[in-house]
Subunit: 389 residues, 2 copies
């Protein structure tokens, strides 16, 4: 086990009907709120009105910013930060999924900074004293509800950048699984890919003595696989929606990574696919991981054997290690393609290979070769190629 610091300050309010507490939760962090939402779904379901009513009843004022898109863009963040300054907002409420939450975190930091919020991602300046952020989560996927991460895209420079800051943990997150009953099948599926991909990034490491972290990670993977299967068959199944939601949080709240060491290479490779082709986060990961796993099976065979046995119940009898490992990878790909019904190759999304070298160069330019788990430029190209179809 490696040394680590674990400090997760988010208060999670989990369960049926917890959205009813939003007024009191918000009132505890601010008197005038920037209410940030995505596109239309929270209006259609009536959730936006319920939340506004609760805030009004709690005596909280608010201004609204709607229309945050998946892969949120820096312009929308700039707009949010400007509204905070103009309107004297003292806290931000993110009502939505990962994109809304990520954008809200950066708005809250930008609200007290005189320059451009993109500066945080260029490491020109560190966030200081951001406004407090609260969350009402509407989709189980990114884990942004209980961590200090934010991912923002800057189309002007065709870049998608992730950063972590210890002051970016939401003050509270309301996780009410019933709010996800209306999440469409494809978004439920991509959400499951996203959760699993967070676990994958932290699970296939080379650190010794991580029984605790491994067992936790395997538990989350099994639970999310089962939860996604059931939720796709029966979208109103509370238990599955609850497992997906708490699983999304546990996958990226730091607990399975503490003492282990993920390299997050696949997220880097996926971010380039989003930046260059506009592929959604979940779709990019559903493409990159199968390619990466096949490429890595020979390098990390014993780890993939462990994965195959613990997560997919692969019986190793009569197989060599590599065969067992590959069977686990095949089960993962089958689950993505046949159960979740998501595309698993670039071809599935109508993407050719013309920008592969460009993307590999961008990943290396951003991360440096040392941060990529020992992978070189040629390896990254090979992984992208193996994801082609």
């Amino acid at each position: 086990m490696k040394n680590f610091v674990f400090h997760n300050t988010t208060k999670v309010i989990f369960g049926k009907g917890q959205v009813e507490t939003v007024g009191e939760q918000v009132a505890a962090i601010g008197g005038k709120i920037l209410l940030v939402t995505g596109e239309v779904s929270v209006k259609k379901t009536g959730l936006l009105d319920r939340v506004k009513e609760k805030m009004t009843m709690a005596g909280v004022e608010f201004v609204e910013l709607s229309g945050i898109k998946p892969n949120p863009e820096i312009d929308s963040v700039r707009r949010g930060a400007a509204i905070c300054k103009e309107s004297g907002v003292d806290a931000v409420l993110a009502l939505g999924g990962g994109s809304v939450i990520d954008a809200s975190k950066v708005m809250a930091a930008g609200a007290v900074y005189d320059g451009d919020p993109w500066d945080f991602f260029e490491k020109k300046i560190k966030p200081a004293n951001p406004l407090p952020v609260g969350v009402v989560l509407t989709i189980s996927a990114t884990g942004s509800e209980a961590n200090g991460n934010a991912v923002v895209t800057n189309p002007a420079v065709a870049q998608k950048r992730a950063m972590y800051h210890p002051l970016w943990y939401p003050r509270f997150s309301i996780l009410d699984p019933e709010l996800t009953y209306t999440v469409p099948a494809d978004q439920t599926a991509f959400g499951a890919v996203d959760i699993l991909s967070h676990v994958f990034e932290q699970y296939f490491h080379d650190v010794d003595g991580t029984d605790l972290q491994d067992g936790f990670a395997e538990t989350i993977m099994r639970s999310v696989i089962q939860g996604a299967k059931t939720a796709l068959d029966d979208p109103d199944d509370y238990g599955s929606r609850a497992n997906l939601m708490w699983g999304s949080t546990l996958a990226l709240n730091g607990v399975i990574g503490a003492g282990a060491q993920g390299d997050w290479t696949c997220h880097m490779l996926g971010h380039e696919l989003s930046a260059k082709y506009g592929l959604s986060h979940g779709a990019a990961l559903a493409v990159v991981f199968p390619g990466w796993m096949k490429f890595m099976a020979e390098r990390k065979t014993s780890r993939f054997v462990k994965f195959a046995k613990a997560v997919w119940n692969v019986d190793p009898k009569g197989k060599n290690e590599l065969q067992t490992a590959l069977e686990g990878i095949e089960a993962t790909v089958r689950f993505f393609r046949d159960t979740l019904k998501v595309g698993v190759t670039l071809e599935d999304y109508g993407i050719g290979g013309e920008k592969i070298e460009l993307m590999a160069d961008a990943v290396i330019a951003h991360k440096g070769v040392d941060a990529l788990g020992g992978l070189k430029r040629n390896d990254l190209i090979a992984i992208y190629k193996s994801a082609m179809g």
Copy 2:
């Protein structure tokens, strides 16, 4: 899964050599510290001097209170609170195990309260604005390093009382597994019993849909069983000491209990054994759990079957459910007795049955029958009797 609120604010600083950071950690929470320690071991190992040196280098003043005993008594807490008031202390550093940490939490609350700290346990008053508490952990056992719990004994009324308060989470806890190399075998063993007992209390519940919590709990149990075995054979084995230490924290930092529901009956039964016979916390649990498990096997058979298979690898082939369940319980008792070498019956500690009815009455008077997982007075008596030998 049940509704829950999860909010654990403790910053955990984990790993080899992390004790070297104590100066800067303490300086972040106070300028004048009450340094609380137990009996002699931190002096003998030189740890006390190292910690004092680091504090001095960081410009932190301190006053000392040593001699906190296992099952810490309210008088020592009163003394600590008084020193805080007299000396103008603004934070408390607990250097020790659960007893030192628990006592420190209550001193920190008592330091800003005009009355008697025992009032908190009698629910006469709620703690408010306690001084911040930091921890350097020296034994893996209670989990008090990252939760809001404290257990204090009041000999004047022969009572041992536990309470939780959200303001009682330590601000930071330094978890340096190397500090536990010198923990004697019997304390390592009782520490493992304590950790396992915390998991047991939260694992044998009746809540549906707790795959995540169950998998985490089973992971901790397996890891602690293996860690204790190895650490007893090789006290300087870092990996085992690390698993025991992080396992002790994860067992009681709220994560495996969130969404499940423990009833903590065995701790209540054990606290009475400590209060009435002075039995140590670990010894009391090593006696109560075997008795309780045997008593409960028929009532919660399927849960004990799950436990037997997941934790002890019991093969259910050719056995009925109850036989499988009992085999898991037998394995637990064997592990306590033969591997940990701790007494598992009252007889092993030279205790007869004369106070059983008195203890059962005290548990019911304190908790009320509804809080005891459906157990009645006669059931408690039966459990104590089955623990006799």
